[in-house]
Amino acid sequence: MDISTKNDAVPPPVSPPSEAEQKRAARGATRPGDRIFLGLSRGSGIFLLVIMAAIAAFLTYRSVLAISKDESNFVTTLEWNPTAAEPSFGIAVLVYGTVISSIIAMVIAVPIAVGIALFITHYAPRKLGGPLSYVIDLLAAVPSIVYGLWGALVLAPQLIGLFGWLDDYFGWTGILDWQGGAPRSLFTVGILLAIMILPIITSVSREVFRQAPLMHQEAALALGATRWEVIRMSVLPFGRSGVISASMLGLGRALGETMAVATVLSPSFEINASLLDPGGGTFAQNIASKFSEASEMGRDALIASGLVLFVITLLVNGGARMIIARRAEYSGANA
């Protein structure tokens, strides 16, 4: 399983430095230059910690302020009314909306992104592949407010037909039942988010597929495998964890997306059984919609919901990092 082709170019060191030597080097405190440099870089790390601690303290403080005044259960309540005489607000609707729209986005985006990545690395003519990956990467940088405008003006009207069709054939399931409103539901948001995270997932997966060991592929080809069999047997197993971590990155963006969701969704504080009917909401969208008119108390409540989003995103990122770490061991890259 030696895939680190880069390392092949460098002749192996005659005698690898011993454990003790490495430790001394790592401490690096022997020379003044080293000491200064270590101090600088450690200082930066500490600076980062301080900022984070300050933000965390700020968030927690204001969240606790809000939640302690909440007259109803913060987790299960289905309304958002922090400014009433008896403040009552809960995140159930937001959790549902955020999770559902992100799941839809992932279900659509991951297979397509893998497809595009494979297309670029293994199917497209080489002349097409390069420019294509440029274009895909550029699209990762389109500001979300522009996606929002496009989603509301161009995408949503196009979905009317699709929604009608889904309702005709799958309406009996309940979850794809459509009352015929404007197509601005969690499903629409899911599709838009899928389009937004496609470039991210694609570009990371593409890099992973490109690293797939050439030897394996050539060996498989030599045995008479078709191109699909080569991909299924040597490229996909190699790239699986990479694709998962790419998807997690995409999921992270989908969870926190604000402006695009706020422009496209027709939000309301209720949980709809049907994915096609307007309603629901996401954390980030709710913060953006409610923030400007909110009083101090309202802002605190929104910050509390932000803290929850924060924790969810953290879990997703943590998961991605664990998988990436496992992959690093697997591929034999430097620790």
């Binding site: 409103g181 027709s266 309301s268 923030f291 909110a294 009083s295």
Partner: protein
């Protein structure tokens, strides 16, 4: 090594190009947008009533997006006359405006609703020796905009409106609508009622009307956030207007200036001799009927929403400027006073109608002028 040095040189020159480019960019920009490029630039005569006195500096204000276009028009006149003043009005929303005001971040705030008691208390901290007061400056009709093909001059009343927005009437050819529009050809079309998804003074005023005029049909308590279940929503007046334009069978409420290009405004059957149109004049008539409920220098108004007077359009919004009666910041006081004096003046109020806003009736605005003159 040589190669690297060359690269560094190239990087340096790249940087130099970037910096000089940025400098060049700075040099060629211009604030001079030709003043009268707008079609309604003919109101320059109004500037005669602007007295700059010793007003100068930067005025920050934040608040209601409903009065944004009015403030824009005023600022244009005022700043043209008083070159030393810059006014930045951010239309983030009434809530944000009041919050910024009670935190002492702005010279004045714009708000769709009068200060609440706890906000007045909070304002005492920033207004040394005084408190925040509401000065009504701009009125405006909230139009009930609809998009139903082939239907013009739709008439609705409070009960029907309440039922529509509470999802109790779901078709355009419902008997209740037919009764109000005997001559119209109402299609068998589903009603798509849109409300604001963000918190807004427009929602507040619209639901206040429903509560006052159709208490049996509208059982919600009202407020800036929409409370009824069902219906669809969009963010901001702009988002709502766009949805109504795009969706056949849609209806929503929005400031009058948004009800154009394919959105028609419904007339209201208030019980007056004939249905009232959403116009600037009718809104002014409704405001004239309002009582001042503020105490002391505060001039908060309460509209008579259930009015049956002829030509009074009851879904009307009054927006306030909020300042300290005493203890405004010294460095911005002169400019604030000069600006408020101008907008409360006859010339200032005259501009409003051109921008789909309703001026404040003479009796009330006179009190505003006295109050502005006494600000310190």
């Amino acid at each position: 090594m040589k190669l690297q040095r060359k690269n560094r040189l190239r990087a340096l020159s790249l940087g130099a190009v970037a910096v000089s480019g940025a400098l060049a960019l700075t040099a060629c920009g211009s604030d001079d947008t030709g003043g009268g490029s707008g079609s309604d630039g003919g109101t320059t005569a109004a500037s005669s009533s602007i007295k700059c006195d010793d007003a100068k500096g930067q005025l920050l204000a934040n608040g209601s997006s409903a009065q944004k276009n009015a403030i824009d028009a005023w600022v244009k006149q005022f700043v043209t006359a008083c070159k030393d003043v810059q006014i930045n009005y951010k239309s983030e929303g009434s809530g944000a405006g009041v919050t910024a005001f009670t935190q002492g971040q702005v010279a004045f705030a714009g708000s769709d609703s009068a200060l609440k008691p706890e906000e007045v208390t909070a304002s005492k901290e920033v207004c040394s020796g005084g408190q925040g007061i509401d000065l009504p400056m701009v009125g405006g009709p909230i139009a009930v905009g609809y998009n139903v093909p082939g239907v013009e001059g739709l008439v609705l009343d409070a009960e029907t409106l309440a039922k529509i927005f509470d999802s109790k009437i779901t078709k355009w050819n419902d008997a209740a609508i037919k009764k109000l529009n005997p001559d119209a050809e109402l299609p068998d079309l589903k009603i798509q009622a849109f409300h604001r998804s963000d918190e807004s003074g427009t929602t507040d005023n619209f639901t206040k009307y429903l509560i006052a005029a159709a208490p049996d049909q509208w059982k919600y308590e009202g407020g800036k956030a929409w409370q009824a279940k069902g219906g669809q929503s969009a963010s901001g007046s702009s988002g709502v207007a766009q949805q109504v334009k795009q969706t056949s069978g849609a209806i929503s409420y929005m400031e009058l200036s948004y009800a154009k290009d394919g959105i028609a405004a419904a007339k209201l059957d208030t019980g007056a001799s004939e249905p009232v149109e959403a116009t600037v004049e009718n809104a002014t008539t409704a405001i004239a009927d309002a009582k001042v409920v503020g105490t002391g220098k505060d001039l908060a108004l309460e509209l008579n929403r259930a009015t049956k007077a002829d030509g009074a359009y009851p879904i009307t919004l009054v927006t306030y400027e909020i300042v300290c009666d005493k203890g405004n910041k010294a460095d911005t006081l002169a400019a604030t006073k000069a600006f408020l004096t101008y907008i409360a003046s006859e010339d200032g109020q005259k501009i409003l109608a051109e921008n789909d806003y309703a001026p404040i009736p003479e009796e009330i605005i006179a009190k505003v002028r006295t109050t502005v003159a006494s600000l310190s």
